[in-house]
Symmetry: C2
């Protein structure tokens, strides 16, 4: 057994069973070990931004890490933007980066770089493995670190000679580092606050937004009248008919201020105080009103889900939540196609329990209005603001949940970042329907240009926000990457194409000309 | 004048006249300044890996920096792989990265990250600008730092409030930090060495490979019999008929050893000792034979070009070089298309003074045999081993030299990394002919898998090297991104399509099914 085999075996022992990869020479022993060790599914991606975004989607849905296999510093570098998003999502990921054999580093060959330096800004744990004998236990520690609450990116740097040298044995799974429990007196104190008659809100994130914990939050609301909020880009929400309704914090700073203006007590459960996404001249960064009390029921590394359930008990909440979402399906759209019509058709036609890997940005506003009242579903947004995550995220979600429909509504500007993801969807025959909002613009930037007060913009500036010259043809791009595709120019065409996609399995792309 | 305007004006004052960009909200004032300040050409790219690779191509050909405009840490991260290649090329680049307003950083908003941390592994100079009043002089220093020999990446982090606050004035260009001069006694000592009867070689890099310096090296060879070598991936070479011929160091370690086995004295001019690109079990990393004396005529930061000319004088070299390349054009290929036929057609049909932005990898071997004897041209290879540079490099070269034909022979695996570059070629109507070697494989890895001795590879492993499932259709991808494209399945078809591309201006892509 060589080092690479001991790594793959240890990953499988630790419950890691999917490897998103774009390997090179220094990873060839790991690649070979994918055959000599069973239990690991390798998924090839044409670009590392796809690798890391797919691992994020997988980790959010599977609630356990996939492993990335990346080729030295530049391979890692190509994956950093989506690792940034994954870090913001708190997704567990094991990130293995091959390096030159240790004795080769002194020669500063062309691919040599500061791998740990690249990894540091996104990793919660970094280790450079030094021997084939120890790399198995390093791997077990990496899995443990990735899964430590709230979930993080554990980067293991594996020199080629560590991979090819003789190893003793694989390691077993290490005990999980579970989230810290919230003290009973903290729960009691918050319970008392919620009974003091002040206007309160719970801002929930992570596991506290899912399943029983969300039900418990709804029951707390039934008893205390507390508002239930989630972040603009909460990594994962369970929405739709029958679920406890949530209020999503809006995007722009003045909207946040208006949204929170009546809140006197803001209770954080795994979340941070709400702030503006960007700074704007003369506008506040801080979202909560002056004098608003902010307290933590649970920090991100604590067991927020259990704390909400304990809170429900502490306030003596009833058995049923204050409200459940009633199903409201919009009519199918007619006539000219626009982002409203796209949202109507998607909300109308998508079956139960779909997963939305969503990066629709400006075009997604109608979508975000309608979706919470549509059929029950899981929503995965862009968490870290680094565009080009939606398509990779859909790959990972589809692999984690092969029986659920994955829908990927995506702005054209962001989709252009990681269009290579379409190829992996075709290769793995994933049940993903991609909807491209083809407005041929970085539309958000037309808004932002005004909002930041940048005056004097003329032809040069506006050309930097415009994608009309030339117009991308997403049908051809998708077909070129092996995905069946169509274009919709009217609402009726879009509905027919989307209905067709919903009625079959496998990857489809619809370019919505809006 | 705001900070952003003072930056753009300072860049123009300092001779920087092209901006490759993919901006976001925090860069909107810089974008607006592209209209209020004249003299800067903005070039929008759909992905930051295209931005940075284009700046590398521009800098190599223009011998001065372009400026990149990147959006916070993730925007920089997406550009790091091609900045790695540019660092290895010693290309001057000014890299401006927008950041949140300084007062906004404390809130850790989603796009916040350690920008300097991302930048450090690739940058020769980093500065975080702190005030609108000082950012103009920071910018002037960035240009100066980028141009310091041998050329490097100067990263200036510009917070949004530095961009939008009031600035006093722009800065003037700072004095250039020229290369250090090589001492006369060093030149004398090397001249003496070259007359001692031992078998010697000059390994040239950078400016020492170009123009008068290359001529001088040829004259030194005429007098002393010294071999003239260049690195496998010398950032820029001037080759072809009429030029002084160079021997290129081969790629694999055992080839390097054989190539250098008779060399007793290796003289480095702006280069480093030759080493293997990767380490392999049981094979040497070091290229020079045991006992070979290695001396520096010039370090990379020194004036190697002048040193070679001084050396020619010191050895009393004749007026003419030892040899000049004679034009040898292969016949046009016939029948089945393969990488040999592609090389024959390119060598036969490409006009004088073309620039090759080349990332053909395994498919490029016949090309590298024929091209040095073809018409005079400039060759720009992948310098740092991070694939996905060729297409962006071609953009930058075409913008730096609008009157020269740019040819981009590219492997399909690498081209998939930065296919978005095609869109910018169409948008800017660049005179670039892209040739995709469609072998549907990471072909080099099939070789490397054997060479590293990774045994036991089966279906899983081999699937990681294979791009047949699905087959990319590069004609559709190119058309989807706005570039006229065709497919060639026979040698005759390829020659006809390539001849057509050579006879017109503007972007073209030919998918060579080999």
């Amino acid at each position: 057994m060589n080092g690479a085999q001991s790594v793959v075996r240890t990953l499988v022992n630790s419950g890691v069973e999917v490897c998103f990869a774009n390997p090179g020479t220094s990873e060839m022993h790991f690649v070979a070990a994918l055959d000599s060790v069973s239990g690991m599914r390798p998924v090839l991606c044409l670009f590392e931004g796809v690798v890391t975004g797919a691992a994020d989607g997988y980790g959010r849905i599977a609630a356990k890490p996939a492993v990335n296999l990346l080729h030295l510093g530049p391979g890692l570098a190509n994956g950093l933007a989506n690792l940034h998003n994954a870090r913001r999502a708190g997704t567990p990921i094991v990130n293995i980066v091959g390096d030159h054999a240790a004795y080769h580093l002194q020669y500063d060959a062309p691919l040599t770089s500061d791998i740990a330096g690249f990894a540091r800004p996104v990793s919660s744990w970094i280790h450079e493995s030094k021997s084939a004998g120890a790399v198995a236990s390093d791997t077990a520690r990496a899995v443990q670190a990735a899964c430590a609450a709230p979930g993080g990116i554990a980067t293991l740097i594996m020199p080629a000679d560590v991979a090819w040298n003789q190893a003793a044995r694989a390691a077993h799974k290490l005990p999980e580092i579970g989230p810290a429990q919230v003290a009973a007196e903290t729960v009691e104190a918050i319970a008392k606050r919620l009974s003091n008659g002040k206007k309160s809100a719970l801002l929930l994130r992570g596991q506290a937004l899912l399943g029983d914990a969300l039900e418990a939050a709804g029951r707390v609301a039934a008893k205390t009248g507390v508002r239930l909020l989630c972040d603009t880009f909460a990594p994962q929400t369970e929405l739709g008919a029958g679920r406890v309704p949530l209020e999503r914090i809006p995007y722009f700073s003045e909207q946040i201020t208006a949204f929170l203006k009546d809140v006197e007590q803001l209770i954080l459960v795994g979340s941070k105080p709400p702030v503006s996404f960007f700074a704007y001249p003369g506008k506040p960064s801080w979202g909560a009103p002056e004098g608003c009390l902010i307290e933590y029921l649970a920090q991100p590394h604590e067991n927020g889900a259990q704390a909400v359930k304990d809170l429900a008990a502490a306030v003596d909440a009833p058995a049923e939540p204050a409200a459940r979402t009633q199903l409201v399906l919009p009519e199918l759209p007619k006539g000219k196609l626009n982002s409203l019509g796209v949202a109507q058709a998607i909300a109308h036609l998508t079956p139960d329990h779909a997963i939305y890997a969503e990066e629709a940005n400006t075009s997604g506003l109608p979508f975000q209005m309608m979706l919470p009242k549509a059929r029950p579903h899981t929503h995965l947004p862009l968490t870290g603001g680094s565009i080009g995550q939606g398509l990779p995220l859909a790959i990972g979600a589809a692999i984690a949940a092969p029986d659920r429909k994955v829908v990927c509504p995506h702005g054209d500007g962001g989709a252009a970042y990681t269009m290579q993801a379409l190829w992996t969807m075709a290769r793995e025959k994933l049940d993903v329907t991609v909807v491209i909002y083809a407005n041929r613009s970085y539309a958000i930037l037309n808004i932002e240009l005004q909002r930041v007060g940048a005056s004097g913009a003329g032809a040069n500036a506006l050309s930097m926000l415009d994608l009309h010259n030339p117009e991308m043809n997403w049908m051809k791009i998708a077909e070129g990457l092996g995905v069946e595709a169509s274009r919709a120019t009217t609402a009726e065409e879009f509905s027919a194409q989307y209905a067709s996609a919903m009625s079959q399995r496998g990857p489809r792309l619809i370019e919505a000309l809006i």
